[in-house]
């Protein structure tokens, strides 16, 4: 897989904050990338630099192997910000056409694409409705369409599911998978860890302007695993005393065990086999991204403090 976006040593300091302080990462073509972090971690600033809204103080952004040029490269980027909205008085169709043309599509192209997406999302009947007449979920769908209809190579979605019901969430989710399959890279920024776990193949966690975690979802989980296993026996009454593990939680025949250091899962299994207890199930419990997130961010103040920047 080739790299679509490469960020190196990106820095952006504001008067009272180091919003982004030396962040580097790479994004593969066709991957779904989770950009995570607590509120005020610098995610939005980072995204605004990638979309050309802010210029970085230092560092470089490479898009498709070339230095990022905001003026010409916006056609390759689709951005759905967290603070998003539409012109309320405009008609839905005109609004979509307008945003498509601003991305650089010709009128005919724009019409073609808008029609295609409206049909796909069953929105064709909305064309002459005013944006203010749409429900929040409908507006969200329209917003998503306007983000992707110019077929950008990189789509950046900031909290794309907020305000969507499960049906429409799934619709958008499926579309995200579809886009990734076609080779579009997606940056997905959210606080909702279960969504990240479900959708993303790669994550970066930022906190206080720094990158504190970078890797594939499974890789990260392996990295933070705590050797906790779920073990189920066919009968209860087994001896649970063994130096290789201790029981964290017991629910009848079901045990949650943590394997002690210098031991492995086979030691545990042998202990029960030797007692002639039948093992019905045995599997590792990997930490959820939520746990990892809380673990890593815990201890830092929940609200970011203002600091003086000497730069």
């Amino acid at each position: 897989m080739s790299t679509i976006l490469e960020i190196q040593h990106l820095k952006k300091y504001f008067a009272s904050q180091k919003a982004v302080d030396d962040i580097s990462f790479k994004l593969e073509k066709g991957s779904i990338f989770g950009l995570l972090g607590p509120n005020g971690a610098g995610k939005t600033t980072l995204i605004r630099m990638i979309t050309g809204i802010f210029y970085p103080d230092e560092g470089s952004i490479m898009l498709n192997g070339k230095a990022f040029n905001p003026v010409n490269d916006v056609i390759d980027i689709g951005y759905m910000p967290e603070e998003r909205g539409l012109y309320k008085k405009m008609k839905v169709g005109e609004q979509a056409m307008y945003l498509a043309q601003l991305k650089g599509l010709s009128k005919a192209e724009a019409f073609e694409r808008v029609k295609y997406w409206f049909e796909k999302f069953e929105m064709s009947s909305w064309w002459n409705k005013k944006v203010e007449d749409l429900s929040k979920g409908m507006g969200q769908k329209l917003q998503f369409v306007t983000t992707v209809l110019h077929e950008p190579k990189l789509v950046i979605l900031d909290e794309p599911f907020s305000g969507l019901d499960p049906v429409n969430s799934n619709l958008i989710k499926d579309e995200i998978y579809n886009l990734a399959k076609k080779g579009t890279s997606i940056i997905f920024s959210t606080h909702r860890m279960e969504q990240v776990e479900e959708i993303c193949d790669h994550i970066v966690l930022v906190n206080k302007g720094n990158k504190i975690l970078d890797g594939g979802v499974n890789e990260v989980k392996q990295q933070f695993k705590e050797n906790i296993f779920n073990l189920e026996l066919d009968t209860d009454g087994a001896s649970l005393n063994h130096p290789s593990f201790h029981v964290e939680k017991q629910n009848g025949k079901e045990l949650i065990v943590k394997i002690n250091e210098r031991h492995n899962s086979n030691d545990v299994l042998l202990h029960f086999i030797n007692q002639n207890k039948k093992i019905v199930a045995f599997h590792e419990i990997l930490p959820s991204l939520n746990d990892i997130f809380i673990h890593l961010v815990e201890g830092t103040p929940t609200a970011r403090q203002f600091e003086t920047v000497n730069a």
Binding site: G52, I53, M80, E83, R84, K88, Q101
Partner: protein, 442 residues
């Protein structure tokens, strides 16, 4: 550039298609015309004739008062301040003495407000009577006086024209026309600066509160977005102006036909009886008069300059209004307080115009028409009185250059504030912060 064009088109079309645009475009000239002619009509109708009893102790004025439309004069016997009402009069005029050095010479008594027009009418009458009396004392006979009056009332006796000498050429100059055009174009620029400036500001605030700003600036540069909006609304303004000119021309040629000559004559008389009180009447009459002498004005120059100063002034202030719109949040109160420093110079310009129109070559007029903050309004009040006589070419050139430089500067300045302000949510920017944004490197 192509993107700016797309934005201009949207800003223009959404506004022109709006019902409010159509309504204000067609109602404004109608209201203007109705106001001018309506107030002339009302002014003429509202002068009430009061019955004044005259008690003349000098016997110099008796029977010499001429009844006009503001006062009817009668000379009942034995009239006093206590019985004038019983005799059917609304006021009592007692002339104690014709000697003006002596106190208590002429007094008007009434139990109600008789109005300025009545006062003026009495004073005018007494002046005339005095004048005639003094002339007759010097041996001028009644017959001669009457024939003089008849002759001087004939307007043909006075064929007054004022000319302006420019080089070897003599040009007819018409101060009333210059005044009218200057005042009119000054007011139109003053109003449009506010209307379209506020329109730009509201547009920017809408983008910010609707949260579309960030979506937009991921496709276009903030500066392009601001420029597109400013130019789009300028086009709306020009369209509206053009429609107004057409409508006013059509309406003002139709309305006088509808108004009876009788009413106009009454308006004219009302003017004579109280010259200080009848500006609206004068304006209406001037509109009529001016139609005949329109040809004396240098229209291509005036229209050219008007368009230049309309656009220049608009561009100068629109950028500032856009900057204000970008730094405020939903709260209109915030906008009010930030708008004050922008609206002050506009109002100042209007005040300067009212005095510079009286003296288009004075120092106030000069400075007001050179400094770009006030030049769009003040210069337009000077131009109709003559280029290059009242306004030398170098002044016009300097004023235009400074206005261009001025709007380039305000656009640059506002672009800097706008770029940061449009993406700031939640708090109002302070002046200090805004200044910081201006000087920050991009």
């Amino acid at each position: 550039m192509n993107k700016v064009w797309i934005i201009i088109r949207r800003e223009y079309l959404t506004r022109v298609r709006n019902k409010t645009f159509l309504l204000s475009t067609f109602l404004f000239p109608l209201i203007m015309i109705l106001f001018v002619f309506g107030s002339a009509y009302l002014g003429a109708k509202s002068i009430q004739q009061y019955k004044i009893a005259v008690k003349d102790e000098t016997n110099l004025y008796k029977n010499n008062f001429k009844t006009g439309n503001a006062a009817f004069f009668g000379y009942p016997d034995q009239v006093t301040t206590s019985n004038y009402k019983e005799k059917g009069y609304e006021g009592l005029l007692i002339i104690y003495s014709a000697d003006q050095q002596k106190a208590d010479s002429v007094r008007l008594y009434s139990d109600k407000e008789l109005g300025l027009a009545t006062d003026e009418a009495i004073k005018n009458q007494m002046q005339k009577i005095n004048e005639e009396r003094l002339l007759m004392e010097k041996g001028v006979s009644r017959a001669i006086l009457d024939s003089i009056h008849a002759k001087s009332a004939n307007e043909d006796l006075l064929n007054y024209r004022s000319y302006k000498i420019s080089g070897s050429e003599l040009k007819e100059d018409n101060k009333a026309l210059a005044y009218g055009i200057g005042f009119g174009s000054g007011i139109i620029i003053y109003i449009t600066l506010f209307v379209y400036g506020a329109s730009v500001m509201r547009g920017v605030m809408e983008e910010k509160t609707n949260r579309i700003a960030e979506v937009m600036v991921s496709s276009v540069k903030p500066f392009q977005l601001m420029l597109g909006k400013i130019i789009g609304i300028a086009a709306v303004g020009l369209t509206q102006l053009l429609l107004w000119i057409i409508l006013i021309t059509v309406l003002s040629s139709v309305i006088p036909v509808l108004l009876s000559p009788d009413v106009l004559q009454q308006a004219q008389q009302a003017n004579q009886s109280m010259p200080n009180m009848a500006q609206n009447n004068t304006m209406a009459l001037k509109v009529l008069e001016v139609k005949g002498i329109m040809a004396t004005a240098n229209w291509p120059l005036i229209i050219g300059c008007f368009l230049f100063y309309f656009l220049g002034g608009y561009l100068f202030y629109a950028a500032l209004f856009a900057a204000v719109g970008s730094v405020v949040n939903e709260d209109p109160q915030e906008a009010q307080s930030l708008m004050l420093p922008i609206t002050m110079p506009i109002i100042l310009g209007f005040i300067m115009m009212t005095s510079s129109i009286q003296n288009p070559s004075g120092p106030l007029a000069f400075w007001g028409s050179i400094i770009p903050f006030t030049s769009p309004i003040v210069m337009m009040s000077r131009i109709p009185s003559g280029v290059p006589d009242s306004v030398p070419y170098w002044q016009l050139g300097l004023s235009m250059l400074l206005l261009i430089a001025g709007f380039l500067f305000t656009t640059w300045l506002s672009g800097k504030i706008y770029r940061t302000g449009i993406l700031m949510y939640g708090k109002k920017a302070s002046w200090k912060e805004m200044i910081k944004w201006v000087f920050r490197k991009s």
